[in-house]
């Protein structure tokens, strides 16, 4: 697997640099606690100077969600793109997620765990963007579960995703690294009895 340290490039613009810090702040303070004044202060810009990059707080929140998606792709999804679709890829995605937690990619733990809970009851474009990003991640897990020939792929995705999120939850709240080990063991048990080669008529046609 290849990680951020190997490929990360410095921010190509002020806007990118702002969003890098915004994602970090949102992982600890939430997307509401991410204030324009504080972000401006940290970037050594005036409030209005920063504001004009986005035009509204909501646009800043949406851009922050988009930036976090790019980070998640780079840190979790891309490094396992060479694993064969189906069981191997599913397993690699789950373990890759646990590695991303252990590497503390965001200072407040998984960005998505923080913002899904914050926005699930706040209708609007920000919640929709967060929900779409999470649907995409769950659908990716589900696609590989189906290729692996699982009887009930939705059940399996629910369970492995539950274990992965619980690892983040317990790791953050109790600062206990055993959470990662428990999650890994649980996920291994969930995947143990699956066939290891992809099956199904269109298995080869699925983009890897």
């Amino acid at each position: 697997m290849r990680y951020a340290d190997d490929v990360a490039t410095p921010p190509a613009s002020t806007r990118e640099a702002i969003l890098g810090r915004a994602v970090e702040l949102a992982s600890t303070q939430g997307l509401e606690g991410l204030t324009i004044g504080r972000l401006a202060g940290e970037m050594k810009l005036s409030k209005s100077g920063l504001f004009r990059h986005f035009g509204s707080k909501q646009e800043l929140q949406l851009a922050t969600v988009e930036a976090a998606s790019a980070t998640f792709k780079r840190e979790v999804i891309d490094p396992v793109a060479d694993e064969p679709p189906g069981k191997s890829r599913l397993e690699a995605l789950c373990f890759g997620y646990l590695d991303y937690l252990e590497r503390r990619v965001f200072p407040g733990g998984c960005f998505w765990a923080a913002v899904t809970v914050e926005f699930d009851g706040r209708p609007g474009p920000v919640r929709d963007a967060i929900r779409d990003a999470q649907s995409g991640w769950l659908a990716m897990l589900g696609q590989h579960a189906r290729l692996a020939g699982v009887d009930d792929p939705e059940q399996l995705v629910f369970e492995v995703h539950a274990l992965a999120q619980e690892a983040n939850w317990a790791f953050q709240l109790f600062e206990d690294e055993r959470a990662i080990v428990w999650a890994r063991k649980g996920i291994e048990r969930c995947l143990r009895d699956l066939p290891s080669a992809p099956r199904g008529e269109f298995a080869d046609a699925v983009p890897s």
Copy 2:
């Protein structure tokens, strides 16, 4: 099982009434988003009138956490107090938690899911109180897992708690009731192979 509707009494004091609304607000807005001005407006008190019941925002947050503990005890723990310790009680606690999600006891979903994620990175007495409450809940699950003769009770508690929390997460974010069913199936599978009678030398001595 007996639920809140059977036993709930009207608030015995202004303070209790305030805290009832505070817990509801915090389940949707978080404990930081719970503001004294808004809470006062909803209770038809002046800001300073409400403020003097607590003396500081932090004391309001601590009192809100305490009130939510009492609600959780009344809604999840007390109704299954008659189940035999060990496997039966563990199962009843897990399913009781899922029922409490389905009954929508708090408008924003499980209070604890909201505030643990909000405060895990904010050191101080509020985080400590939240952490202690969650440790107590996990310890209760662990105690009954041990009585049930589980090889690795910490692993089992991690898994059933993960499934329960995932039910809340998916139910809130996607408004999809299948999350409750998936969690119930996963928990059943986790508990399927356990012996059904309590065992161990001090099984009978455990308070029920």
